[in-house]
Symmetry: C2
Subunit: 219 residues, 2 copies
């Protein structure tokens, strides 16, 4: 009899937790819809709760305010990206990390380019707010070990590997922003450009003054 | 007599314009001080006018609000950077553009790293607001012609030169953000890292799966 009661309590607890998770998921889905339709500034908690069919009081059991809800939405997006990257890396343990994450990030950013635009423009300070999830730091933590391992095998022409990881990730983050204002090229072409730049660099003539004598003689 | 009157009027107009420019300069200097000390959110127009010794009513002859004043401050900083870059490029017409702007941007960003931090964190949406001065676009307009000229001389392994210019400038902008959270390395070392990455890329082992067979055999 006691055991039966415990079972019933645990079933109830499970039901409450599931219901709670469902309300949260509904709010996040509605938030995504409203933020994308109205932009961050003009989105209201009131419209989001209406679309999610959730009472205003219930909203505040889940989120502090609009900013908190937006942060949760961005967290969720980066969590999904992180899970995708970790799954692929686990599946291909001997493949180089940088091309893999480049390809996944570009496909995800292209697929969700409305969210990319929203994150960068909407709640402006979000990305640089140190208290919120820092996607950049997380990516750097993926890239840095692969640089450190490589440096053990052969000396790299970079003394600060943490800076190098930051440069590589910065290049990826900046590239993903490309789609905020452009629809082309697609993610494969974008990855090809970035990996070509990372793999071979620019032609020497663009970086050294070797050409100055020839351009002077042509004057 | 008429001529004398015209002269006097023109002297008066000159005096008014000078006085107006001086008030504006005082407000910008005070704004810089207050924004850096308090951060964007906590800075108030009231404190800025007090420090500038300017009446509140006069403030509104020059700026719409705090945001407008902040935008003017950022404009001013980028204008100064632009003038510095244009002067050096005019002085060294046969030198490659990318190393020159890399070096100038890093020196300026390091010198004014408190302003860099303020721009990125303070008025978050500033940088991505298309209505305000877009420093990134301006830098791309400097880099793109040099890529186009080079592509005429020899084919580049990049089909989209506008994207390539965006990647290079993105790398510079992201690198400059490094100093928001780090004091080291200095601008010369930073420029060396970026130009080395742009010049030679990363070791092939980091980007191709050539190493997979060797790492498999070592297991």
């Amino acid at each position: 009899m006691k055991k039966h009661l415990e079972q019933e309590q645990s079933t109830n607890q499970g039901r409450v937790a599931r219901r709670r998770a469902q309300v949260r998921a509904n709010l996040l889905a509605a938030a995504r819809e409203v933020f994308l339709a109205r932009g961050y500034q003009d989105a209201t908690v009131s419209e989001i709760t209406q679309i999610a069919d959730v009472a205003m009081g219930t909203f505040y059991l889940h989120f502090r305010d609009k900013e908190d809800l937006f942060a949760a939405l961005v967290h969720e997006a980066f969590d999904a990206l992180g899970e995708r990257i970790e799954a692929v890396l686990a599946d291909q343990p001997h493949q180089p990390v940088i091309p893999i994450i480049t390809s996944i990030i570009f496909r995800a950013a292209y697929e969700h380019r409305d969210m990319v635009a929203l994150i960068y423009s909407g709640a402006g300070t979000y990305i640089t707010d140190p208290e919120t999830f820092d996607a950049q730091e997380w990516l750097i933590d993926l890239v840095l070990p692969t640089l450190q391992e490589q440096a053990k095998r052969e000396p790299l022409p970079f003394t600060d590997l943490s800076l190098l990881a930051h440069l590589i990730v910065g290049l990826l983050m900046q590239s993903a922003m490309w789609w905020i204002e452009h629809d082309e090229p697609g993610p494969e072409e974008m990855a090809r450009h970035v990996l070509s730049l990372l793999g071979h660099g620019l032609p020497a003539a663009l970086l050294t003054s070797a050409q100055s004598s020839s351009s002077e003689s042509s004057m």
